[in-house]
């Protein structure tokens, strides 16, 4: 039996030109008020300036880009149908994924050694790991329990300010504060979650967003408590089991204890391993929880809340547990953030931070642990690489978010895909 051979016949050349012309026309309309005209300050009053060449360039790029994109897509679709025929009928989906995970883990373990002379790389990697940890924490709430949380940064702030205040006022250490901050963040999660978790998805989103803003506004305005917009400075850095990383020689330090030359990199590398350990613990904790009844209940509630209620499950308590655990993990990350920066202010806990963490979870593929890592690397490195043209980096960041979602709506690594898949396009 010869299978049907799909031949993709794209629209003709004329149709493509017409389509690109329409896009160019639209670009012209969009461009006139923003690119073509702009207002400049000329001695107190505004006056109009024009940039017609730029507008022409923009419209031209849009025309050419649309044309090229359409032809590329035609070509791609044609090849996709051909490729599908060559694949076996039943195949495991992406068996290499597990190996990618191990490779990333191995690389992260040796990274500070491989780049020991390069402080910038280790610093950036630490930032990536903070976002990975936040992403894994939020993944419990959004990915597993299916609750949309737009104010996750509030719990991050609770953790950071707990450490900032306890260490500067009462001299608490990093390791002492960690469990306290986690517990406090979880308590905040329960306080917020208890009244609001009965709400439908989008209402919950807006309430969590409001909660995030409330926490931030309190931090900005309650100056006696939080230092206001100036924040809290001189937060002590974590020590290596009581040995500080400092060049002083009066008391034993990390360098004198191990009889090595003092180097500023020691602390950077130490911090890297601390956040790596915290992140890996988070991963282990969450993957274990997933296999426990509570984790299975989270995913059940995500898939069908009504059915869960009908089975006699206490949906509110299940959601609350996901919310509290997610909050706790966010609190841990916050403590680390405060200890690493040595300085915190409400500026670090704005809504765009919540949006970034949510974007990491969703871009990575909800519920996928590895996806979070890939997305975190992408979202931290994109702006970093864009430093040379820093004006455009947030613009590109926004555009990248749209494009990735349009290209892969399920996220880069969708976890809800089956592990074995039937290939419908294969020859029988």
């Amino acid at each position: 039996m010869s299978a049907y051979v799909p031949v993709h016949q794209g629209p003709g050349f004329a149709a493509r030109i017409k389509d690109a012309l329409a896009v160019a026309m639209l670009s012209l309309m969009l461009g006139i008020p923003m690119i073509g005209l702009h207002t400049v300050d000329s001695g107190g009053a505004l006056s109009i300036a024009t940039r017609w060449p730029w507008l022409a360039l923009f419209v031209g790029i849009m025309f050419g880009g649309r044309l090229a994109m359409q032809f590329a897509l035609d070509h791609f679709k044609l090849n996709k149908a051909r490729r599908a025929q060559k694949r076996p009928a039943v195949r495991a989906t992406r068996p290499w994924l597990k190996w990618l995970g191990y490779a990333v883990l191995g690389f992260s373990l040796v990274l500070p050694i491989a780049f020991s002379g390069n402080r910038y790389v280790v610093d950036t990697a630490t930032t990536v790991l903070i976002y990975v940890m936040l992403g894994w924490g939020l993944n419990v709430v959004v990915g597993l329990a299916g609750l949309l949380d737009l104010g996750y940064v509030a719990f991050y702030a609770v953790g950071a300010y707990t450490y900032g205040l306890l260490s500067t006022h009462f001299g608490w250490g990093f390791w002492q504060t960690l469990p306290v901050a986690g517990a406090l963040a979880a308590t905040f999660g329960i306080i917020l979650g208890w009244p609001t978790l009965r709400l439908r998805g989008d209402y919950l989103a807006i309430v969590t967003l409001g909660f995030g803003e409330i926490i931030r506004l309190i931090l900005v305005n309650w100056t006696d408590f939080s230092g206001g917009p100036n924040g809290i400075g001189q937060i002590p850095r974590p020590t290596f089991f009581g040995l500080p990383f400092s060049p002083d020689t009066d008391t034993p330090t990390f360098a004198t204890f191990f009889h090595i030359e003092y180097a500023a990199e020691h602390r950077v590398i130490f911090l890297y391993y601390v956040i790596l350990a915290l992140a890996l613990l988070t991963n282990l904790f969450v993957s274990r929880l997933r296999k426990l009844p509570v984790g299975i209940a989270w995913e059940a509630v995500r898939e069908d809340e009504v059915a869960c209620k009908a089975l006699g499950m206490n949906v509110t308590n299940i959601k609350l547990s996901a919310f509290a655990i997610g909050a706790m993990l966010g609190g841990f990350a916050g403590v680390f953030f405060a200890a690493r920066q040595g300085f915190i202010s409400p500026e670090s806990f704005v809504f765009s931070e919540s949006a970034t963490i949510l974007a990491i979870v969703v871009l990575g593929g909800m519920g996928s642990q590895l996806g979070v890592v890939v997305a975190a690397i992408l979202l931290v490195l994109l702006p970093e690489l864009g430093r040379d043209f820093s004006e455009y980096r947030m613009l590109l960041f926004g555009a990248a978010m749209i494009l990735i979602m349009v290209w892969r709506p399920g996220g880069l690594i969708a976890s809800r895909e089956p592990t074995v898949k039937l290939n419908k396009g294969a020859q029988a």
């Binding site: 807006i206 409001g210 974007a359 749209i402």
Partner: protein, 304 residues
């Protein structure tokens, strides 16, 4: 007493602006069931365009206030509607059948994109314009406090009421309104009945953007200063207003806007201006706890 009346007037004006933006939210939410995160930024784009158009008109020597306002409104509504259409086409339509969170993320991306695009093309500085409509009535002095009612405030309230009436008529009485409500209820069935669902959704986005454009022009004329970052806070407040009034309900959106405007102006005047946003959000949480469908919304029946 004098101050009370003054705050009432200020709150009414502010509330009308929030209400206008909230109308756009509530219409879009009604039809696609999603928060249009870029809506606040559409409003900001409109406000920036209003500055450009007003400056152009000033340079062209058109200074008659009603004429200048009318031209500005028409031009800005037109261009903003094109922006609204493009936002839907780029960030929403490809994701029509995607998981629920995907369009939300692309909308957040769109919001970041629009904000930075305006910052790059129009500059980050605050844009001041000349007062187009200065002056107002003095309503009298009560307890040593003179109550003012500015012409711009009258304009905002009148325009808002007119638009609310117009849109209520549009949604409840016209064929477009019927199509729109049909899409809200059941998109598949509506498509089977021969209604172009995609086009209806596009028109809804354009109408929402048009309302945001009116709000943008009004705010530009009222405050006289605009910058690229005004979209976020206004968007959040307006969404709160839409939820407060009951999402999907036009009078509800307006009522929610008015309540939030009132709370904001009274809280700033009598308590602490720093915590006015906290008051708004706490109210939202309280309303959702005790009346989850909003003040005027219909309670939703969950079907299996």
């Amino acid at each position: 007493m004098g101050q009370l009346i003054q705050q009432l007037i200020n709150g009414l004006t502010l509330g009308a602006v929030y209400g206008l933006i909230a109308l756009g939210y509530t219409m879009v939410y009604g039809i696609i069931g999603m928060i249009n995160f870029a809506h606040g930024d559409i409003y900001m784009v409109a406000a920036i365009m209003a500055v450009t158009v007003l400056t152009l008109l000033g340079a062209a020597g058109i200074t008659a206030v009603p004429l200048a306002l009318l031209i500005t409104l028409v031009v800005v509504i037109l261009f903003t509607a094109i922006y609204g259409w493009s936002v839907e086409r780029v960030a929403y339509r490809p994701l029509r059948n995607a998981p629920r969170l995907a369009p939300l993320i692309s909308a957040i991306g769109m919001s970041i994109f629009l904000q930075n695009m305006v910052q790059l093309t129009q500059g980050a500085r605050v844009k001041p314009i000349h007062a187009l409509l200065p002056g107002g009535f003095e309503l009298g002095t009560i307890d040593g406090f003179t109550v003012h009612l500015a012409y711009t405030q009258i304009m905002i309230i009148v325009v808002t009421v007119a638009l609310l009436v117009l849109f209520t008529w549009l949604i409840t009485r016209t064929s477009f309104g019927r199509q729109q409500r049909a899409c809200e209820q059941d998109r598949t069935m509506t498509a089977l009945l021969g209604i172009n669902v995609d086009r209806t959704i596009s028109y809804t986005f354009m109408l929402g953007a048009g309302l945001a454009a009116v709000a943008g022009v009004m705010v530009t004329v009222y405050y006289g200063v605009v910058d690229f970052s005004i979209g976020f806070v206004a968007g959040i407040k307006a969404f709160t207003a839409a939820v407060l009034g009951g999402i999907g309900s036009l009078p509800g959106a307006m009522l929610g806007g008015l309540i939030i405007g009132m709370i904001e102006s009274f809280w700033s005047a009598y308590l602490s201006p720093e915590y006015k946003d906290v008051a708004t959000f706490v109210l939202l949480i309280l309303v959702l706890m005790f009346r989850p469908s909003g003040l005027l919304g219909r309670p939703e029946v969950e079907k299996v």
